[in-house]
């Protein structure tokens, strides 16, 4: 009964449209740019070790220092809160290891570690209202992706996933891009836009999709950052 109730909370795909898109220009070596639905943009520069809001002309302001040692090839993704006052970024102590999810508050000028782990891997954050989500991907010979809400692991899967900033569908439901069942040999696989009930851990694939962020809009979910823009009516 509990799982039925949980499943009923999950959205259903009512239609999918796909549009081929040109590759977005690189923001520069070691840089990553994220934005929210309102268009507030935040840049992380792992070479300079800073995170900043970008103004309308693309110039950085409200700069906060976040020390980073990650490979500039894999700077991480930036999640921006709905009001644009906060951002979630990755900070690593090694080129491909010891990752931490850092919450940057531009109003306070602060940077706070939300979650970290030892070993190779990466993290991506997401905002679920006032709560902070952490997707932590452990690598190594037994790779595993885990979705954390505070100190609670709400879902995990063995294998390697692609980093993608999730979106909030409702107070209990998250939209994210994952491969629900990675191949046992490659430990990877084709990804789908999925809905996750964070209270029960129920996961529902909605449509095949790949990208670096999910946007939640009234009645639809959008996956961007891949070779195609995928819009799923829910």
């Amino acid at each position: 009964m509990i799982s039925r109730l949980a499943t009923s909370r999950l959205p259903v795909a009512k239609g999918v449209t796909r549009e081929q898109v040109a590759r977005a220009p690189s923001p520069g070596r070691g840089k990553s740019v994220g934005d929210n639905a309102k268009g507030d943009r935040v840049v992380q520069d792992v070479v300079d070790g800073v995170v900043a809001r970008l103004d309308a002309s693309g110039q950085p302001r409200d700069t906060v220092k976040v020390a980073c040692a990650q490979d500039p090839l894999t700077p991480g993704l930036v999640a921006v809160s709905e009001d644009g006052s906060r951002a979630l970024v990755m900070s690593c102590k090694e080129m491909h290891g010891e990752p931490s999810l850092v919450l940057v508050d531009f109003t306070k000028g602060s940077a706070t570690t939300v979650r970290s782990f030892v070993g190779p891997g990466w993290v991506v954050g997401g905002f679920l209202g006032d709560k902070v989500l952490c997707l932590s991907q452990r690598l190594g010979d037994e790779p595993q992706l885990s979705v954390w809400l505070g100190d609670k692991c709400v879902w995990s899967v063995a294998g390697m996933q692609q980093p993608c900033v999730p979106a909030r569908v409702s107070p209990e439901v998250l939209a994210l891009v994952v491969c629900p069942k990675p191949d046992e040999l490659t430990q990877t696989g084709p990804s789908s836009l999925c809905a996750l009930d964070v209270t029960s851990g129920a996961l529902a694939p909605l449509a095949p999709a790949a990208g670096t962020r999910v946007l939640a809009r009234p009645g639809e979910l959008v996956v961007e950052g891949g070779s195609e823009r995928v819009v799923v009516k829910i």
Binding site: R23, P25, S26, G28, R29, G30, V46, V47, D48, D71, P72, L73, T74, M95, H96, G97, P120, G121, W122, Q137, L139, G140, D141, P143, M160, Q161, Q162, P163, E184, L185, T186, Q187, T188, S227
Partner: protein, 314 residues
Amino acid sequence: MPLIDELRRNVFARIRAQTSSSTVATVTIQGSSNVTSATGGTFAIAQDGMERNLEVVETRLTRAQVIEKAKTAGVPQRVQVGPTCGLYALGMVMDSWNEKDPKNPTAIVQDLDLRGKGKQYTREPTTSERILDYAQGEGFTALGEMFTATQLAATARHFGYDATTHLKATLDDLYKVLDAGHPAIVGFDVDYNGNPTNSGGERAHYAVIEGYFDDKGERYLIARHGWGVQKDHIWKASDFDASWKALQTTTFYGTPGDGVIPRQFGLDMTHELPEPSKMSLPDAGNGRAHIFESLGTKIVEVVPKGEQPVGGVR
């Protein structure tokens, strides 16, 4: 080529334990209505009347076992420091030949490696010369990046190996190199997990291909590279093929030919970093350089002197 299909068909093979025919045993298991002994071993009659051999052993070929069976050209791991993936890939190949015959030379990439025995290197270097010093001195690289495969082969030759570059290589060329037991150094576009992707060349990276196998009609490659985030990667050959063809442009040098390269990670950039003197990548516009002709679909084959490479040019 390893017959992994055949190996995996035996994954659930059941092996009857060898036991004496006189053995009589009584075992109580949940769901059994009675227990008896037959021609040998211990058997149980389940409630549905089926006979279960309690000494049946289930065997399973693990992913690690698949890798070990299929590797024909394995190399020791080195974890890179800096944007030096090609040089560390070359170091891994030199280590593998040195492991087979200590007379074959090997070298460490940079002095920093000396602090990381077991991680940055495993075999004792046979020379005090550093691979990075040579590549920088020759004007191949600024920080260890090697966007031109022929220059990586030239570096291998300097350190005492015969090395060729397969230009316009195909997967069939790759299999021939591996069939000869030679590790293959290749460029590809890397994702966050160290696997092939397509970012148009922006995340160009080197790996060593160590072997291949077929399973359920799909061909797979076994690869190792300088990130060290996984001991060995298994990639679909088709994914790798798309990825090494995706090496089109890079922003590493900014506009090639302007003499300077943009600020790089971990450097004191109070001075501008000059482009390497033998970097001749064509300008792709918008602060990018073309890399397909120099790196895309290339194999660097490195063998000890006296052994014949299966192909490529010197």
